[in-house]
Subunit: 212 residues, 2 copies
């Protein structure tokens, strides 16, 4: 094998983002969303994802304001939480995952639902004004829409990347059709994942491209 591989982190980042800028369809996006799209594409290796992103309102500015106000980031699973780069967020930003709440399992059993959905109920008022990042569970997004529709706590922004074959496309379509007034970014269809959700969070506060 060749040993001529690029080893310098800053050079790898710079070249990666130059390739994405050259290949991805970024012109269709509002400027505030471009940093999020760049990092989402970077996370999955697929430039075509930039062509498929959907949004309402300005989730980048709303998410940034939430972080400035000290609101938490709420992840639907531990992979999303572990993919968030703390030094790219304001110092002290809380990253919460409702799966870690003591009462989540009991709520799931009581309601006959997934722990991912119950986790949002367990978080209660912590949802209010938070940045919600969903990278796994369609049921988390479905439940979040129910909570909002019922007049419950409203997050500041939703970064919605549930993935898979049952409910992922449907939950994202429900978000698009809900008209709930919460700004969001999403990727319609089956594709998504924790890396995309984390990447969108990682672009909110420090929208420069460098640094992992």
């Amino acid at each position: 094998m060749s040993t001529a591989w690029l080893r310098v982190p800053d050079q790898i980042y710079a070249r990666s983002f130059a390739i994405i800028r050259a290949e991805a369809e970024l012109d269709r996006l509002p400027p505030a969303l471009v940093p999020l799209a760049l990092r989402v594409v970077h996370a999955c290796g697929m430039v075509e994802v930039a062509s498929r992103l959907a949004w309402q309102g300005d989730p980048a500015t709303a998410g940034r304001a939430a972080l400035a106000a000290g609101r938490p980031v709420i992840a639907d699973c531990r992979m999303v939480a572990s993919g968030i780069i703390r030094r790219r967020l304001p110092a002290g930003t809380e990253i919460l995952c409702g799966l870690d709440c003591d009462e989540t399992a009991a709520i799931a059993a009581r309601d006959g639902t997934t722990r991912s959905a119950a986790a949002l109920d367990a978080l209660g008022d912590r949802l209010a004004g938070a940045v919600v990042a969903i990278g796994n569970a369609p049921t988390a997004l479905f439940r979040l829409l129910e909570i909002i529709a019922a007049g419950g706590p409203r997050p500041a922004a939703i970064l919605a990347f549930p993935v898979g074959f049952v409910g992922a496309a449907e939950s994202k379509q429900a978000l698009i059709e809900a008209g709930c007034g919460v700004p969001f970014l999403t990727l319609p269809g089956r594709m998504g994942g924790s890396a995309m959700a984390s990447a969108a969070v990682n672009a909110l506060w420090a929208p420069n491209e460098e640094g992992g």
Copy 2:
């Protein structure tokens, strides 16, 4: 929005895997690799990934034997580690990430390389006989191939899903061309990610499809 979303975890899993079996090109795979392919597809929402997987030897059987022998799983990043479902592995299986080794940063600075590559040096003999799961860094895979080529510790199996625009395709091609004799499963090209790498690990020991 409709409230008719599927909430029961076992039903969601069963329906998901039925869809994947109906749509994915699984016939091209050796039977031992089918559980890994199913979970990799499940993790990314793209059935076409099953058509593009590449392998040498039998990484499923080799990985399973390594777990039975008490060898660790080595993840290239914390997202891969956090995506591994411990109850799907033998009790007590160690999940290591070399980024957590004390000496990794110093090795990276000394060698002018990434922490992801230095992490493999920091792990030293722990690599021997281990299951290595790479879901992020091409430099980790490049460095692993160098270590093996230099006569260093040899893992039992490599699950290689580095992702991105600089080095991901090249590192996986290098793995395919290396002929190093270590069984591997990989996805050529830019695509990959932590979720795919974790999913492949999660299929090794308990190849049944149910359970998240």
